[in-house]
């Protein structure tokens, strides 16, 4: 029997006991469906994170801070009170509440510039705005974020802030649009807002700026739910905020952005971080900040996949059972085929191929329906529960992982089929033909 006939016979044998085959396929279907969905969940979320990281851009930038010795105020220290450091300021970096960092002085910036692998350094001017006020007369608290060159925010309307322009421009987050008194995202673009800062001698200054864009809120937004000014506005606000400070106090930054070669490998980046650490700095890339998130998601997907695999294992016993019954039923046929000169290897192949085919049917149907269901769930959730995360396709599918799911199920089915197939292959033709 040649290979094509073997496969053909296996396939047609599958449909001989339709009900039994159908039930086995259903069992596999459940496992494959679950596996495909959980796989899709991982793919969808991770693709979203990847997309946002790419959209954020500036993959060749890391944020550098100088951690203070008395790192946090959480917990008690046996060493007694930490020594006062006049350069310690609150950090804008993610960390435990109350974490402080030592501010970066122009000297630090020079040191950073001198570190091997650092191409360019730019201090991040942090601005603490008092309020923002729009067309409505209500004042709202606002956090001011900053973009470094190369970074972008994801916009729902308008344009990116133009750092080359002398006009005072600002991009506001979606959540501010209605509060500031605009009807919609596009309506807000072109509007004027007032931002206020307080300087060192407690005088409040108000600055008017034009809204040029409205930003999406996403997990990976470089600025979070904060106002993004352009360079001109940043400089303006920063200067106003520092008015009245002695010169040696003015140039103090919580953090700085450091550029490295954009073709740097992970190892290069790690090496650069190590060198920064040797000099008492700590560097974090955008990918680092999101890496933790990805690890958590991968972990969850792994656990879900494990459940799906358990379902598949249960289904594989169904295959064993189905095929044992099939072998039992076809004992005479097997005997006849062997009497007619069919080798044991071919008989084994016939039954294990049948198992693999049942696995293929179950997994293909399961994967197909999972894709449909996943699409429906994603689009339903994206307008309701996950409406705050535009651009997120919760369950996405890529052809490679689906092919892998189908292959894995077929391999499991094939392995389950080997037991009955071996019994069929061992059957003695004389005994089989005598079987009533």
């Amino acid at each position: 029997m040649n290979a094509v006939d073997l496969v053909g016979s296996a396939v047609s044998n599958t449909f001989r006991a339709k009900t039994r085959t159908l039930l086995t396929i259903l069992a596999i279907f459940v496992g494959a469906f679950t596996l495909t969905l959980t796989q899709g969940l991982g793919t969808g979320i991770n693709a979203y994170i990847d997309d946002t990281v790419t959209a954020v851009g500036a993959s060749d930038v890391m944020t550098v801070t100088k951690p203070s010795d008395s790192a946090t105020t959480i917990g008690t220290s046996d060493d007694g009170p930490a020594e006062y450091d006049p350069d310690t300021i609150a950090s804008g970096q993610p960390g435990p509440p109350g974490a402080t960092v030592v501010s970066l002085s122009p000297d630090d910036l020079d040191t950073l510039e001198g570190i091997d692998g650092v191409l360019r350094v730019q201090a991040t001017k942090s601005i603490a705005a008092d309020y923002i006020e729009g067309a409505d007369d209500t004042k709202y608290v606002a956090a001011i974020g900053g973009l470094v060159a190369g970074q972008t925010v994801q916009l729902t309307a308008g344009e990116q802030p133009d750092d080359g322009s002398d006009d005072l421009q600002v991009v506001i987050p979606v959540s501010y649009v209605e509060a500031l008194g605009y009807d919609g995202d596009t309506d807000a673009v072109g509007g004027t807002v007032t931002l206020a800062v307080t300087d060192a001698v407690r005088t409040q200054h108000a600055v008017e700026a034009e809204i040029v864009g409205v930003a999406e809120e996403s997990v990976a937004s470089p600025t979070g739910a904060s106002i993004t000014p352009n360079s001109a506005l940043t400089d303006e606000l920063y200067d106003l905020q520092n008015a009245g400070l002695p010169d040696d106090q003015a140039d103090r930054y919580a953090q700085a952005s450091v550029w490295f070669a954009d073709d740097a490998t992970d190892a290069d980046i790690t090496a650069l971080k190590d060198r920064l650490e040797d000099d008492g700095y700590s560097g974090v890339t955008v990918a680092d900040q999101l890496g933790t998130l990805k690890t958590v998601i991968d972990g969850i997907v792994l656990v879900l996949n494990a459940f799906a695999i358990i379902a598949l294992l249960a289904a594989s016993f169904g295959i064993v059972n189905t095929l044992f019954m099939s072998v039992q039923e076809r004992t005479r046929e097997i005997g006849l085929m062997k009497a007619m000169g069919m080798g044991s290897g071919k008989v084994f192949g016939l039954f294990s191929l049948e198992a693999a085919f049942i696995g293929f049917l179950g997994s293909a149907i399961g994967a197909g329906l999972a894709i449909l269901a996943g699409g429906a769930i994603s689009s339903a959730l994206s307008t309701t529960l996950l409406a705050d995360l535009p651009g997120l396709t919760l369950i996405a599918f890529d052809p490679v992982s689906i092919a892998i799911v189908i292959l894995v199920v077929m391999v499991i089915a094939f392995l389950a089929g080997t037991l009955p197939a071996a019994r069929a292959a061992k059957a003695d033709p004389v005994e089989s033909l005598r079987y009533e």
């Binding site: 029997m1 005479r332 009497a339 007619m340 000169g341 080798g343 033709p429």
Partner: protein, 249 residues
Amino acid sequence: MPTPIIQVTDVRKSYGRGQNRFDALKGVSFDIAEGESVAIIGKSGSGKSTLMHTLALLDAPTSGSIALEGVDTSTLAGRRLNRTRNRTFGFVFQQFFLTANASVLDNVVLPMKIAGVPHAERKRRGMAALEQLDLADKAKNKAVNLSGGQKQRAVIARALVNDPRIIFADEPTGNLDSSTGAVVEDILFDLNRENGITLIIVTHDEDLAARCDRRIVIRDGLLVEDSRPNGPGSADTTHGRHGAEGVAA
């Protein structure tokens, strides 16, 4: 005298061991010439089915040898054994052993499918065999929908399709009424006469056995009679070469 197609020399076959040992064949010897029609007769439990299985190489004898065209079959194994069975033998069984839900044609071409004959040729030769047995119009029917006589004709077509040298028929008319049984017998003997296919029929039907050239009677695992009532030497009732010895044992 040409080499006999089958030479059976002191074949013994036993099952089980020790206390449970059962000797199905206790030393049987005979030759079958090409083109003969041979009836192997015996009651159930006489060992006639065991003898047929060993002749058809489905079972190896415990001792003794079976030579096929002068070749000791114990030297055949694995692929060669399978190929020899596939090319040399055709089988007709009392219970038909047709796959119920497959078409008649699919059932008939099974030996060629096993042999790896290409699809088109399978179909052509399968249809030719069905034509020969007046079943061409039933080719697409499911085997389960045939009458008993039609089923047995389909089985004969299947046995024929690979141009075998020997057809083994195990109670070929056992499940048929006498008129359809007679038709099936006619077909088998026609094949024997016209195509020169050696016919080995295992039966306990004396009427069927009487139509064969030669009758071999098995009782309790021994050959007790080997006669040619219709054959060239119909007068002689020679016993097997080791017949007397066998009785003594």
